[in-house]
């Protein structure tokens, strides 16, 4: 195994990278250097995030241009996957396998002996707080547990570079907080992480280094604070699936910044002008259980779309 990427050298570098699906452009002439550390890839759905992630992980071949991970081309270079861990967006599993069996089987593909693979899988499941449910079948996991077992398979072989595609999607507030903390720990431990999301708040809680992507192009790269004010001027909507949505709505109604609420079956959608304070309060409520169990928190990308429209016009 080679050393971890050294400071200053890009972990991911692309030169005029383009990808077309027939006549449709997925990514258009992207030249970018992703430094070591944590980098957020931020863009609305359909912006080209997944295409970029698939090119970075060698699942797709560039139509034009080049992409290098840790200085090497990734397409057709399986040895490089010793140093890369990938957590995909799709909710796809071998449902009949247990979490431990699945992670063990996947990490065994990295050349580990069965006993080593199981030990590595146990460590990874412990890292994502899933060791208690390790012997349960994945088909019986909740959405948040499924997200975590996906992360476990990505980090079990301790890669230098972790690529996480929408890793917080569907997690409850407590698990979100834990996962964000874990990602930051990886960053501090010298690992490089590329994490995609369509929610600025999520990315901002992990890193200030972002790539803004829209319509298959990188619009901006650098510090997140530059667009922070712009985001704040737009209301942020949050969808919360909870055991008792009415009790949750009552508790949230008194919070500053809540603009509107809409009930849906087993859930409530909230629009807030102060997303940071809102998420902090939601996490507190999930921890104390004062408004019942909160199962899932997601945020549609409407607010980010509006900001991107504004950015493009500028």
């Amino acid at each position: 195994m080679t050393d971890s990427p050294t400071a200053g050298q890009p972990v991911i570098s692309t030169e005029h990278l383009s990808k077309w699906y027939g006549q449709v452009s997925g990514l258009n002439d992207v030249t970018v250097k992703v430094p070591p550390g944590i980098t957020g890839l931020l863009g609305p759905n359909g912006a080209g995030k997944s295409t970029f992630m698939k090119l970075v992980t060698g699942q797709l071949k560039p139509s034009k241009g080049t992409i290098k991970i840790l200085g090497e081309p990734i397409w057709g270079n399986p040895a490089l996957y010793h140093r890369i861990g990938f957590c995909p967006e799709q909710d796809a599993f071998y449902e009949r396998m247990t979490g431990l069996g699945w992670v063990t089987a996947l990490v065994a593909l990295n050349g580990l002996e069965p006993a080593e693979a199981e030990a590595a899988a146990r460590r990874a499941l412990e890292a994502v707080d899933l060791l208690d449910a390790a012997e349960k079948k994945i088909g019986a996991y909740s959405k948040g547990m499924r997200q975590r077992v996906k992360m476990a398979q990505a980090l079990a072989h301790e890669p230098d570079v972790l690529i996480l595609d929408e890793p917080l999607s569907g997690m409850d507030p407590l698990m979100r907080r834990k996962t964000i903390r874990l990602i930051r720990e990886w960053g501090r431990a010298g690992k490089s992480v590329l994490v995609s999301s369509h929610i600025l708040h999520e990315i901002e809680s992990m890193t200030s280094n972002i790539l803004l992507i829209n319509n298959g192009r990188i619009l901006a790269e650098g510090n997140v604070h530059q667009i922070r004010e712009l985001i704040d001027t737009h209301p942020h909507s949050v969808f919360i699936r909870a055991e008792d949505p009415k009790a949750l709505a009552r508790a949230l109604l008194v919070e500053d910044g809540v603009i509107s609420m809409r009930f849906e079956p087993g859930a409530v959608s909230v629009e807030t002008a102060r997303p940071d304070a809102f998420y902090a309060r939601l996490t507190e409520m999930a921890a104390s259980g004062e408004a019942g169990v909160i199962d899932e928190v997601t945020s549609p990308d409407d607010n980010l779309q509006a900001v991107f429209k504004y950015l493009v016009k500028q």
């Binding site: 699906y21 010793h82 396998m97 996947l106 593909l109 990874a124 072989h157 501090r188």
Partner: protein, 281 residues
């Protein structure tokens, strides 16, 4: 949650080691898939037929006669092996499993986990192929043995048991050959199931009854030439058998099938290595 601090050793996986790991991962999933349950029912139908023959026979009624003569039980078993298993079940299993070795993973969106590991994509295909072979063998061979023990009377078992073993080997060879060919079709074609069915039940049936060299471009020509059973020598069966009198030697058949399997898997592996799999979002 804590970040990990004990990095497991990184070893480069050889092609076959990677294939073996994929085999281990895939076998359980394949065995308990809905496809296998459905095909176990298909394979169970000859067992049902054999059970009916046994019941009819135990009632003192002769189930099959040819020119007034009672048909030998081993001959009945031979006809079932040839018509039901070799001509129908083996190609069906080959088409349905072989064409979907990679396609199933793509459809389920689980291919990402296999293609982002340090093993060659060709090893993924070979591992899935081995899982197919073991899975289908485990479905078919017990069915054949049940048919044998239901049809052949206890007194005749000693003399014909070697024939049963040859049949089992032959069926496994047929599954390997058809699975390999249809894995290739699955790797390179956009509609592999249709192409596979047309090949197995269109082209092969047509080419086998045509005189000349065309039958040599089928797998069934080599597989059924290895059938150890003597077919009934009169009637429609003998007419059909006449088409297969110019059978190649066993060695030719075995070498031809081995080459077909090796070439199919090599080309399929290369196709999978080059192909991009775009998952639907």
């Amino acid at each position: 949650m804590t970040a990990l601090d004990t990095r497991p050793p990184a070893r480069s996986s050889s092609f076959m080691r990677g294939a073996w790991r994929v085999f281990e991962l895939s076998l359980g999933e394949m065995l308990w898939s809905r496809r296998t349950v459905f095909l176990a029912i298909v394979v169970g139908s000859p067992v049902l037929v054999a059970a009916v023959i046994r019941i009819v026979d135990s009632m003192g009624v002769t189930p099959f006669r040819l020119n007034g003569q009672r048909l030998d039980y081993t001959a009945i078993f031979g006809v079932m092996i040839w018509l039901l298993f070799l001509r129908f079940i083996v190609p069906v299993l080959g088409v349905f499993y072989g064409t979907s070795l990679i396609a199933d993973e793509v459809e389920d969106k689980t291919i990402t986990y296999l293609f982002t590991r340090p093993i060659r994509r060709g090893a993924v295909l070979v591992g899935k192929y081995l899982a197919y072979l073991v899975c289908t063998t485990l479905v078919v061979l017990p069915g054949v043995m049940l048919v044998y023990f239901l049809i052949v009377p206890f007194q005749q078992i000693g003399g014909s048991f070697t024939m049963l073993l040859t049949d089992l080997g032959l069926l496994a060879l047929g599954l390997a050959a058809y699975g390999g060919l249809f894995a290739l079709i699955g790797a390179v074609m956009k509609r592999p199931l249709i192409v596979g069915l047309v090949f197995a039940f269109g082209w092969e049936q047509f080419a086998l009854v045509m005189p000349g060299y065309m039958r040599r471009f089928t797998l069934m020509y080599y597989v059924q030439s290895l059938v150890p059973h003597a077919m009934p020598a009169e009637g429609v069966t003998s007419l059909l058998q006449a088409f297969f009198t110019s059978t190649p030697s066993a060695l030719t058949c075995l070498v031809s099938l081995a080459v077909a399997i090796a070439v199919s898997l090599t080309l399929a592996g290369k196709a999978v290595e080059r192909r991009e799999y775009v998952l639907d979002q």
